[in-house]
């Protein structure tokens, strides 16, 4: 392809601009997407930390609900069983046993110890309200929860819950010890903290009330929440690595994988687009180039035809003048020689006409002037005009007609096809031979057959018969004149009409050419 052509430069400039714009657009798009991905990851990091803190405070609330429920149950029991004027030791122990607790106290409204379990007569009547903050809180009318107050024999942590309740005396406090080992608190704690986090309940003195989850190494994020209504705090710890990749390590790469996939797809589409553009540019360029070459060829055909015909006009014109005797008389022998010259000038002219026609067909410049025609008439005209040639050679030339067939065709070109075939048949038929031209209609086709009883076509040459300038070995051996263009042109003209030209041959017996044209009737 010639890149120096002006239109190619224009297209190249145009496509460079499009490429630059596309690449810029791609970079902006990918950059924007990358920014969004990074930003969303950062945001998700922050929101994860926020969410972790929220989980902490929710867990705190959950646990304080538990404490409140424990206190309410305890208060109801105390209200039902321990609100009479005098609570006997037996009543107290029965109640405490019924509640399934290991230790309990009952205080009057001044904080004096009315009952204690397990039994300890020495401390009865003592004022405990001042000694224990959770009891003091209950005496003031609130729920009191202690830190770790003691360990039971097995070493399990004990906390105490004290509740105020109404009695005939106007108010009492019931305090119960809770063995954390057997209380549902552990389950509450375990269920309230996030997976992979460690949760610790710590009392006001910093002592561990209860913990859940396994400790871990590495960077940790910590949040803590007060357990409302208790002196406890819930401390949550989670490793940062799990915080930042909450689902799994792989999930973190999902946006980047998407990003990479998108990038690859976008680059692929851009490349495809450029490829398309390039091929379109090339196609446009080739099209113009082909058009230009066709124009060049058409000019060449026109010029060549003109330049060959002008001198031939003088050659034939002056020969005809000479032969007419206008320039004076000449001997018979001279006349014979001049006739040879004249005949060959005619051949040259025919060749020029054939060459120009072939070139026009090649340049797709030949336009058919189609008109409705009776094929039989064309066949008759052809036979009539070939009759002198046949007579001269002593060949019988006959026309046979069957069902008439009409075609829509270019009269001059179809005549040319028939003339070429009939003239060939006569040339290749020996003296006293017979050439039969048959015109008929068959299976919707208009058919003309030209049958000779010449020498036939050797099988090896049959496939090349319609090649331009191909001359059969028989033609060469018998010095039958011709350029090898006639059949090639006949075939091309038939093709142009949407018809078919074929032949059947048998060596030594003859050849039949068959033209099939679409019939209009």
């Amino acid at each position: 392809m010639n890149a120096d052509l002006p239109h190619m430069r224009g297209l190249a400039r145009c496509s460079r601009r499009v490429i630059a714009a596309s690449v810029l657009l791609l970079v902006v798009l990918l950059g924007g997407f990358a920014f969004v991905v990074v930003q969303s990851q950062r945001e998700s990091r922050e929101s994860l930390e926020d969410r972790f803190a929220l989980r902490g405070s929710l867990a705190g609330r959950f646990i304080s609900t538990y404490v409140r429920d424990v206190a309410r149950l305890q208060k109801n029991e105390a209200q039902n069983s321990l609100s009479g004027s005098a609570v006997t030791r037996r009543d107290f122990e029965t109640t405490v046993d019924g509640m399934g607790i290991h230790a309990a106290v009952l205080l009057d409204r001044q904080g004096r110890l009315l009952q204690v379990y397990p039994r300890n007569p020495e401390i009865l009547g003592k004022n405990l309200g001042a000694s224990y903050p959770h009891l003091a809180a209950a005496l003031e009318g609130r729920i009191g929860v202690s830190g770790i107050v003691a360990s039971a024999g097995r070493g399990s942590p004990i906390v105490a819950v004290a509740v105020p309740f109404a009695s005939v005396e106007g108010g009492r406090v019931f305090g119960a010890a809770i063995d954390l080992e057997t209380s549902p608190l552990a389950a509450y704690l375990e269920n309230s903290i996030p997976f992979s986090a460690e949760g610790r309940l710590i009392d006001a003195n910093g002592r561990l009330v209860m913990k859940s989850g396994a400790p871990f190494d590495g960077e940790a994020f910590v949040t803590s929440a007060a357990i409302v209504g208790t002196p406890w705090r819930l401390q949550l710890t989670a490793p940062k690595s799990t915080l930042y990749a909450p689902v799994s390590g792989l999930a973190r790469w999902v946006p980047w994988a998407l990003f990479a996939g998108f990038s690859v797809a976008a680059v692929g589409i851009l490349l495809l687009f450029l490829r398309l553009l390039e091929s379109r540019t090339q196609v446009a360029g080739r099209h113009r180039e082909v058009m230009r070459l066709m124009q060049v060829q058409q000019r060449f055909i026109a010029t060549t035809s003109h330049e060959l015909r002008t001198p031939l006009t003088s050659v034939t014109g002056y020969l005809d003048l000479l032969l007419s005797g206008m320039a004076g008389p000449f001997a018979e022998k001279q006349r014979d020689l001049l006739l040879v010259v004249r005949r060959n000038a005619g051949r040259l002219l025919d060749l020029v006409a054939d060459l120009m026609l072939a070139a026009e067909i090649d340049a797709r410049r030949l336009k058919l002037n189609r008109e409705p025609l009776a094929l039989e008439d064309l066949a008759r005209e052809t036979v009539e005009s070939a009759q002198p040639q046949a007579d001269e050679k002593g060949v019988e030339l006959v026309l046979e007609t069957g069902t008439p067939a009409n075609v829509v065709a270019d009269r001059r070109r179809i005549s040319q096809v028939l003339t070429n075939l009939v003239s060939n048949a006569v040339k290749f038929t020996p003296e006293n031979g017979r050439v039969e031209v048959r015109s008929f209609r068959e299976n919707g086709h208009a058919v003309i057959e030209v049958a000779d009883n010449g020498m036939g076509i050797p099988e090896a040459e049959q496939s090349r018969l319609f090649d331009r300038f191909f001359r059969s070995s028989n033609a060469l051996a018998q010095e039958i004149p011709g350029s090898g263009l006639g059949l090639a042109i006949a075939k091309q003209l038939t093709d142009l009409h949407g018809g078919q030209l074929g032949f059947t041959t048998s060596e030594g017996i003859g050849t039949t050419f068959r033209v099939e044209l679409p019939s209009s009737q």
């Binding site: 026109a302 035809s305 003109h306 330049e307 015909r309 002008t310 001198p311 031939l312 006009t313 003088s314 050659v315 034939t316 014109g317 002056y318 005809d320 003048l321 206008m326 000038a345 005619g346 002219l349 025919d350 006409a353």
Partner: protein, 133 residues
Amino acid sequence: MASKILVVEDDQDIRNLLHFQLTSAGFETAFARDGATALIVARKERPDLILLDLGLPAGDGFVVMERMKAIPDLEMIPVIVVTARDPREGERAVQQGARAFFHKPFDADALVAEIRAALGGGAVASELDGSPG
């Protein structure tokens, strides 16, 4: 008086050939070798008919025909085109007012017959292809 034919032809041999053929058919001849001269000679000689080549220097046959139409003295003179160009060009010339066209090499007898028909006001088959007679 013999009819005068103006031959517009740039090839000298063909001019001479036409001269022989036309004079032996009893016509007088005048000549021009290019388009511009053709118009000058035509106004001076007042030919009865013009044989016009299409490929000419200084204004081709189409230009000559176009100019002739604008000149009152010349517009009625019949034109027969004789050309070696593509027969389609000849057909175009006929569409633009030429009486007939002959494709080179032309048949002298047919040409003379056409000229006679044109001068006598009659009509003869006008299109003959290049095969010599």
